[in-house]
């Protein structure tokens, strides 16, 4: 009888020394989920009741020392007043921080990295039926025509990798990149696909990559958020703010979206008639009220809330300094193509480098506008796509140069990618020939690249077929990419977990994931 109650209590995390009885009770109540109730239904109801009384029959809250596979569990508990304090990785890490460049809308791999001369040869011909059988398309209907690459390809660098002429600056770094051409997803629309890439699940409510990373590792600079997001391109990505949300992890681990122009965080600055000492006294008063609430209810989130106010207070000084790109010399701004007067992807890249220097753990940049269906000039392969490339090519190359120069590339993992690929066929919305050229969504194959900490440079992994439509060699699922990224940070992706709803949740979710050893240095 005691065991089934222990089954419920074991799921909660260990309490740091000196936690009060109220905190234990709170944790115990939180840990008893519906799953536990049903599991111990017949014998456990009575013992669960006894457990809530804190009776001598039930032992005190104790962590499960062993995970499901019998190996020791990792603990991620911290002093609630320092929720982002640094924790060491599980084993020696190759990378300390991640800069993730997400091209929202799905950039066309056939116009950037995946060279398919056979497809160009068959440009304009009817698409074979075998490509269409059993597939769902977002907008293609009937029998579309094949579409060859719209820009010429050539080989670059010592590694001789194929790249189109749209990325003249990034080309110089081709020997630093590891291209994965066989990425695969099962979502064919933007919001679920972006959620899958960012949170490991195509549904809302799961923590994003950055949340997992700062939950597992903390952040080095306690005066700045550990997970910062910068968005450019004119729109938020389709997946919305949940793409950097904390899901079921404590809310302190969510991404903070900052602006790269003007105030980094709205309303961070004091209003004009509130001085910093006055703000300090106000915060002290709020702190006191929160402490009384904590003494009464024992909810550790209250202590975290106090810590957040304190961090916002410190951020007033540090965030403005970190985000202020005026402080960079003109030569650096010119290298990125950044103009401090307006917001742009280039500005965000400069900020990203500054944040990396200041110990921010996970920096994410979103650039919107790659969804080139060909419905208008803005999202066509011959006009809009070229603009996007121009907006991102130079800043990304400059970012890589900067990181390399300062010796930060060896411990920073830089990842670039979209949420799925684009079809080898030209889109024919409603069966009509469209005025502009575009491609529909193709979840079957897309390309990402990685550079930096722990990644083997100057190589390509995986292959698609001659039409660039499906993967023929070495498919990599999104969860495999996550597992590899976590490995570079020093974690077994099974072990970076959090108990929620009776399950040990993890970024790679429930399906088996593989670390892609071939791309590791």
């Amino acid at each position: 009888m005691a065991d089934s109650a222990n089954g419920a209590t074991r799921q909660s995390s260990a309490m740091p020394a000196g936690t009060s009885h109220r905190e234990e009770r709170f944790a115990l109540l939180q840990a008893q989920t519906r799953r536990h109730f049903l599991r111990s239904f017949t014998a456990g109801v009575g013992s669960m009741f006894l457990g809530t009384l804190g009776s001598p029959f039930v032992s005190t809250v104790r962590a499960a020392e062993r995970g499901v596979d019998g190996s020791p569990r990792l603990e991620f508990t911290r002093d609630p007043s320092q929720p982002l304090s640094v924790l060491p990785p599980q084993f020696a890490a190759r990378a300390k921080r991640i800069i993730y460049l997400h091209m929202a809308g799905a950039p066309s791999q056939l116009e950037l990295f995946d060279y398919k001369p056979d497809l160009t040869r068959l440009d304009g011909q009817q698409c074979p039926a075998s490509f269409l059988v059993g597939k769902r398309f977002a907008f293609i209907s009937g029998v579309p025509k094949l579409l060859g690459a719209q820009y010429p390809f050539h080989q670059a660098g010592k590694s001789g990798q194929w790249i189109s002429d749209r990325l003249p600056h990034l080309e110089k770094h081709i020997d630093d990149l590891c291209l994965i051409k066989s990425m695969r997803t099962d979502q064919f629309n933007h919001a679920p696909a972006q959620l899958l890439v960012q949170t490991g699940n195509a549904r809302l409510g799961y923590p994003s990559m950055g949340s997992w990373v700062i939950y597992g590792l903390g952040t080095e600079n306690q005066n700045l958020p550990g997970f910062i997001v910068l968005v450019s391109g004119g729109n938020q990505p389709d997946g919305g703010k949940q793409l950097w949300g904390s899901g079921f992890l404590p809310s302190v681990y969510q991404g903070v979206q900052c602006r790269s122009h003007g105030e980094p965080v709205l309303y961070l600055e004091n209003p004009s008639d509130v001085s910093r000492p006055l703000r300090r006294r106000m915060l002290d008063a709020v702190d006191e009220i929160n402490r009384q609430t904590y003494a009464e209810f024992g909810n550790p989130e209250t202590v975290t809330r106090i810590a957040q106010y304190e961090m916002a207070f410190r951020m007033q000084m540090d965030a403005t300094d970190a985000m202020d790109i005026h402080k960079e010399p003109a030569a650096v701004l010119a290298a990125y193509g950044a103009n401090p007067a307006e917001s742009s992807f280039a500005n965000n890249c400069v900020v990203a480098r500054r944040l990396a220097e200041r110990g921010v753990r996970f920096i994410q940049l979103y650039h919107w506008g790659w969804d080139d269906h060909g419905t208008s000039a803005k999202d066509s392969l011959n006009i809009g796509f070229a603009d996007r490339c121009r907006e991102t090519d130079q800043p990304i190359a400059a970012l890589l140069t900067d990181l390399k120069e300062r010796g930060m590339l060896e411990d920073t993992l830089v990842v670039w990618g979209g949420e799925f690929g684009r079809t080898s066929m030209r889109e024919n919305r409603n069966g009509q020939v469209m005025q502009f050229i575009g491609r529909d969504h193709n979840p079957g194959a897309f390309t990402i690249w990685m550079a930096g900490g722990g990644i083997k440079p100057g190589m390509s992994y995986g292959e698609t077929d001659a039409m660039g439509y499906e993967i023929v060699k070495d498919p990599v699922e999104v969860r495999d990419l996550h597992a590899t990224m976590l490995y570079a940070l020093g974690f077994d992706h099974h072990k970076l977990n959090y108990s929620f709803q009776g399950l040990e949740q993890k970024l790679t979710s429930v399906k088996p994931a593989r670390v892609v050893a071939e791309v590791l240095a």
Partner: protein, 484 residues
């Protein structure tokens, strides 16, 4: 006057019951034969008990001749009298085992010559046992009739049992591991591996057939044809099974066989099914190429370019290091106290490199100018354990050089934008674990490069924004390591 109704004697009733059962069983075999389809799991569950129950009648039938023979002697005549009890027992148990066997064959997807012979053998055995029983007890015909019938029954049970063994263990289960002299005596070939049946000069014989023999023969071969599909010969492969064609020449995507073997092992339709080794990626690729090239039996063996070899490819895997908490605590024990004290003094600066390691990582860059030479001096007792030292943008100067040099195990040293000069770099000569040295934004000059060259494990030297010009002449070895 009433005539007392006598119940028919037990023997007669049993005999009639046996006859009826044999007829019923025969009807089942004729009307519902095993056809290679799998049916309800409950039927398969019950059918599996055939394997248990069948051994009982086998033992009984083989015991009868022993008892008859031993009972010739007057001392053991009681043995003979018990045979009369054994025969009905044997008949009933044969009927029971045969019924369970029919259940297994009908629901377990069996088909083919072996199972049919075995089943009819079992039914015939029931009839043979009844005949023996009758000959022994009732009919007083020629005295030789019963012994002959007994001999035939023993032969029948051995043959039926052998067929059953072949169904379970494979057609050559008795001869597979037979010693070579015995093999020669019987006249079998001396090799134990099956000879390739098709010409290995062709792609089919060289690459495709071995795949099917290895992975598919046990259920889709000469002995068993689940789903009425045989894969061991070209003709039967192209003929397909109960669901139609499994290979469509020239159309790899439309070939059901390829679809099934490419599924993930957890899928219900995946072939080979759970428990059997799935096809390797290169084997699937070989099949795909062969089918796409027309699935011809006469395609030459090296006709398809880029066909992978039959050896299993080596899949790169990572191993996650195991953490033994007791060992970790032990290795950290000598300096544990000092580490705790210094961690409190410099929060966020000093920590263990990883959860499984006793080595330390030092990162004072967040403190910036607040961290100086004296602070680094406080960390002196730990210098042997430090593997990463990031002192970027701190206030250290050349005074800290001996402390840096004392970090014998340091792999990464970052002195970005500090006030150090060539003097510090020259003291680093003995750091033979150093892999990465970052001097970006410092005042070092080309004079320090001589020392750097001597570092055996150095991979990267970051010398941007220093007094070292990018075109400085250095040895080729150092040139590849310099990053500007």
């Amino acid at each position: 006057m009433t005539v007392p109704v006598r119940r028919a004697p037990l023997r007669l009733r049993l005999g009639l019951f046996a006859l009826a059962s044999i007829l019923l069983l025969s009807a089942l075999l004729i009307l519902f034969p095993p056809d290679g389809l799998e049916r309800a799991p409950w039927a398969q569950f019950i059918g599996r008990f055939h394997l248990l129950t069948v051994h009982f009648p086998i033992a009984l039938i083989l015991l009868v001749p022993v008892l008859e023979w031993a009972g010739r002697d007057a001392r053991f005549s009681y043995l003979r009298s018990s045979v009369d009890f054994l025969w009905p027992l044997a008949i009933l148990s044969v009927l029971a085992a045969a019924t369970l066997g029919w259940c297994l064959a009908r629901s377990g997807g069996y088909s083919g010559r072996l199972v049919t012979q075995h089943m009819w053998g079992g039914v015939s055995l029931a009839a043979a046992c009844s005949l023996c029983w009758m000959l022994r007890g009732y009919f007083h015909g020629p005295r030789v009739a019963y012994p002959l019938a007994l001999l035939a029954t023993v032969g029948l049970v051995s043959w039926t049992g052998y067929r059953g063994g072949q169904l379970s263990q494979g057609e050559n289960h008795l001869t597979e591991h037979m010693p070579v002299p015995l093999r020669k005596l019987i006249g079998l070939s001396s090799g134990s591996t099956p000879l390739p049946r098709s010409n290995p000069a062709y792609f089919y014989g060289a690459h495709v057939e071995p795949i099917f023999i290895t992975h598919c023969d046990s259920c889709h071969g000469p002995d068993k044809q689940k789903g009425r599909l045989r894969l061991d010969t070209y003709e039967s492969l192209m003929r397909g099974g109960k669901d139609g064609l499994v290979i469509k020449a020239g159309n790899a995507k439309g070939s059901e066989l390829l679809r099934r073997v490419s599924l993930s092992p957890s899928d219900d339709d995946a072939m080979p099914p759970q428990g059997k080794r799935p096809l390797a990626a290169n084997e699937i690729k070989l099949l795909e190429l062969w089918i796409a090239a027309g699935a011809s039996p006469t395609l030459p063996a090296n006709a398809i370019k880029g066909a992978p070899t039959n050896e299993a490819p080596v899949v790169a895997e990572v191993a996650f290091p195991e953490i033994d908490p007791a060992a970790v605590t032990k290795s950290r024990a000598p300096l544990a106290q000092q580490v705790i004290q210094l961690k409190q003094r410099f929060p966020g600066v000093l920590d263990y490199e990883s959860r499984g390691s006793a080595y330390l990582a030092l990162d004072a860059s967040a403190l910036g100018p607040k961290f100086g030479d004296d602070d680094l001096a406080a960390l002196k007792p730990l210098s042997d354990q430090i593997v990463t030292a990031d002192l970027s943008r701190t206030a250290i100067t050349d005074r800290s050089a001996p402390l840096l040099a004392a970090m014998k195990h340091a792999r990464v040293v970052r002195l970005t934008e500090t006030k150090i000069t060539d003097a510090t770099v020259s003291t680093l000569a003995g750091m033979d674990q150093l892999e990465s040295l970052n001097l970006y934004g410092t005042a070092v000059t080309p004079a320090c490069l001589k020392v750097v060259e001597s570092l055996p494990k150095l991979r990267h030297l970051y010398a941007g924004a220093t007094k070292i010009p990018p075109d400085t002449s250095v040895s080729d070895a150092l040139k590849s390591k310099l990053v500007f």
